[in-house]
């Protein structure tokens, strides 16, 4: 229950912050205009203000309550953070992005698979390489042969 409360406090505070920021930007950087002739800032300002109000309500209820589940009313219990999967997935996508811009698609597939394999204990290096080969063939078929896209398969930036 403790976790529920903390979860809702963070959620409420982030929503409040996001709403205030969004409305604040609209009020300071854009012209609001009048309701008859609205400027570009009016609608965003209203949305930001409503968001801040709702975020404030979530936060207040979470602070008032002895246990936060009453606010959240969530069916799902809070789940533990999957740190390893999170780091591996983001790292794999980052590796793919960097490698594809410099070295082309083929090395990028292998980079993604080798990094992504770190999330599972079952993916040994030979298995991973086999997956990468399979994906290379699939990617070549779908994106180059069928959709006719102009991918660089291999590149050398230097």
């Amino acid at each position: 229950m403790q976790q529920h409360r903390i979860k809702d406090r963070i959620a409420g505070a982030s929503l409040l912050l996001a709403g205030t920021g969004f409305a604040g930007y609209a009020a300071s950087q854009l012209s609001l205009g009048s309701f008859a002739a609205m400027g570009p800032g009016m609608f965003p300002f209203l949305i930001g203000a409503i968001l801040a109000l709702l975020g404030g309500a979530v936060l207040t209820l979470a602070l008032l309550d002895g246990n936060g589940e009453r606010v959240a009313d969530d069916v799902m219990p809070p789940e533990p953070i999957e740190w390893r999967s999170l780091v591996v997935v983001i790292a794999a996508m980052t590796a793919f992005t960097l490698v594809i811009t410099w070295f082309g698609m083929l090395p990028a597939i292998f980079a993604l698979c080798l990094v992504a394999a770190r999330a599972s204990d079952k993916l040994t290096v030979p298995v991973t390489l086999a997956v990468a080969v399979g994906l290379s063939v699939a990617a070549w078929l779908i994106f180059i042969e069928v959709l006719g896209l102009n991918f660089r398969i291999l590149a050398w930036p230097f």
């Binding site: 979860k7 963070i10 959620a11 929503l15 996001a18 969004f22 930007y25 609209a26 854009l30 009048s34 309701f35 008859a36 002739a37 609205m38 570009p40 800032g41 009016m42 609608f43 965003p44 968001l51 709702l54 979530v58 589940e69 009453r70 606010v71 959240a72 009313d73 969530d74 799902m76 789940e79 953070i81 999957e82 999967s85 997935v89 983001i90 794999a92 996508m93 980052t94 793919f96 992005t97 960097l98 594809i100 597939i109 993604l112 698979c113 992504a116 999330a119 599972s120 079952k122 993916l123 991973t128 997956v131 399979g134 994906l135 990617a139 779908i142 994106f143 959709l147 896209l149 991918f151």
Partner: protein, 512 residues
């Protein structure tokens, strides 16, 4: 409505649509869509949104009609595939199939898995057919009626759609509405259409065109889901024996139990599918409850009653089809999956709404007729070819997730061949996973994102015409009624959450 002219129109339109749907290209993409939909639907943990967002980038490279035919196929294909996992693994392939576990899995344990699979396929087909017939009959009428709508009506309609969708989802109502606002806010990033001024771009050229629906959908549905399930998901053991074509032939008793539950399920599903915010999940639960109530012997339910899988499966497939009615005729999607379909149309420069039916009949009727083709294909995929999907259920998940991750990355990259697009997906994946941990739902965000910019346009238009007078929203009976409904929805949720609050307070007071 029963006039012969109406029927003649209907047949002419159907012929036009069939002509388009039967072109080699559209036929191919329809087949591809339903096959991928069945496959991804059958895999537990990959719901309709993940499936659609994974294949979303491919639609950028297609003709708009082919694109929505394929995406539509994925959408209703997952409902067929999802029941396979429910019956064989006791794990719903998609949430809308959860109720099918209740009697489907007991049937499998009794050695009747093959019959359960064939009968759900048939009832799904019946449900979908009724949904499509209703769509063919009512869409033109609704579109005609909606031509009269002004900006105030559209604003009210969008508001009701957003509110209904966020209150019907489980979880906190406050958080859902807040997430709708976050979605609208994200949708407003970019160039203001009225003044040409850049909003929230922070000097970045890429942001001038706004954030991409693709990056948001892939991040918050696809990758965030993947992060949560890589290490926690355990595929179950599938008993493949006994699933043969011969074993799929139902007994005379099974067939006699097919018709009424299917028709009742289809009716319930068609109704809930067309309403904003409800849909397959709610319809399938309602249908199950109804079947239990009308049954002569309700105690059979939960122990392998075939009506308990026939009704709900007909319901969720009917709902999937009628959900297209408000999306295509009014431009108001009732669920995030339909918001993605609407998003694809907008990306291709097509404005869904009452004029779509009259101005792009080949597209509208082509899509409708592709539903018929798609559902016939699904019947084939799910009866004679069922063995393939059953085998695929036992594909180890650790081989699958690098592939999913790869298709996310390459798919996004393929749209513009720009690294920026993948960086955006990475950013939204982090945000999506954080939202998941904080219990902030992603579905209302996507609905808000798609509808937000349109809402702003209608809001501004209404007030420009009225000279800033807010009574313009309630001057006309239709918009007044709809806004009244919005107020009722809000009131009802506030009252019910207060009640619940008091009840939990009392309950916890009793504990102490």
């Amino acid at each position: 409505m029963e006039s012969p002219a109406f029927l003649i129109d209907l047949f002419a339109n159907a012929a036009l649509g069939l002509n388009h749907a039967l072109s080699i290209e559209n036929l191919l993409y329809c087949a591809l869509g339903v096959t991928l939909g069945t496959f991804l639907g059958a895999l537990p943990g990959i719901g309709v949104l993940v499936a659609m967002s994974l294949l979303f980038p491919i639609t950028f490279h297609l003709e708009p009609t082919a694109a929505i035919i394929m995406l539509g196929g994925i959408y209703y294909g997952t409902a067929y595939g999802g029941s396979i996992a429910s019956i064989l693994l006791n794990v719903p392939g998609t949430p809308a199939n959860s109720v099918t576990c209740l009697d489907g899995y007991p049937m499998a344990k009794q050695g009747r898995a093959a019959v359960a699979l064939s009968m759900t396929a048939v009832s799904s087909f019946i449900g979908a057919s009724i949904g499509i017939i209703l769509m063919m009959m009512f869409s033109p009428l609704i579109a005609d009626y909606a031509l009269e709508f002004g900006p105030a009506e559209y604003f009210a309609l969008m508001l009701i759609g957003l509110l209904a969708a966020s209150t019907m989802s489980h979880g906190s109502m406050l958080k859902s509405i807040a997430m709708v606002c976050v979605g609208i806010a994200l949708g407003l990033v970019g160039t203001d259409l009225n003044t040409g001024q850049h909003r929230y771009t922070f000097g970045l050229i890429e942001l001038r065109d706004g954030l991409s629906l693709l990056a948001i959908a892939m991040g918050v549905f696809g990758v965030a889901e993947l992060i949560a399930s890589i290490r926690t998901f355990q595929p179950g053991e599938v008993n493949r024996r006994g699933i043969t074509l011969r074993a799929m032939i139902p007994t005379r008793d099974d067939v006699s139990r097919l018709w009424m539950p299917s028709l009742r399920g289809a009716g319930i599903g068609s109704f809930f599918g067309a309403l904003p915010g409800t849909g397959g999940l709610i319809a399938s639960f309602m249908s199950y409850a109804v079947e239990r109530r009308v049954a002569k012997d309700p105690s059979r339910f939960g122990k392998g009653a075939i009506e308990g899988i026939i009704g709900p499966e007909a319901a969720n497939n009917a709902a999937d089809q009628t959900a297209f009615i408000p999306t295509l005729t009014l431009g108001i999607p009732g669920s995030p999956a339909l918001a993605l379909i609407l998003g694809v149309l907008l990306i291709h420069g097509i404005n869904p709404g009452p004029t779509l039916v009259s101005e792009r009949p080949e597209m509208f009727w082509g899509l409708v007729m592709s539903f018929w083709i798609g559902n016939v294909l699904l019947l084939i995929l799910n009866i004679p070819m069922i063995g393939i999907w059953v085998r695929l259920l036992s594909v180890p998940y650790h081989l699958l997730y690098p592939a999913i991750l790869f298709f996310v990355c390459i798919g996004v990259y393929s749209v513009n061949l720009a690294a920026y697009d993948i960086w955006m997906v990475i950013a939204f994946s982090l945000a999506g996973y954080a939202m998941r941990l904080l219990g902030l739902p992603a579905a209302p965000l996507v609905l808000g994102f798609v509808l937000g910019p349109m809402m702003e346009i209608q809001f501004r238009r209404t007030l420009i015409f009225s000279g800033g007078d807010f009574t313009a929203f309630v001057d006309r009976p239709i918009s007044a009624t709809m806004l009244g409904l919005c107020a009722l929805i809000l009131l009802w949720t506030v009252v019910s959450s207060m009640r619940r609050r008091r009840r939990t307070l009392l309950a916890s007071g009793g504990d102490e």
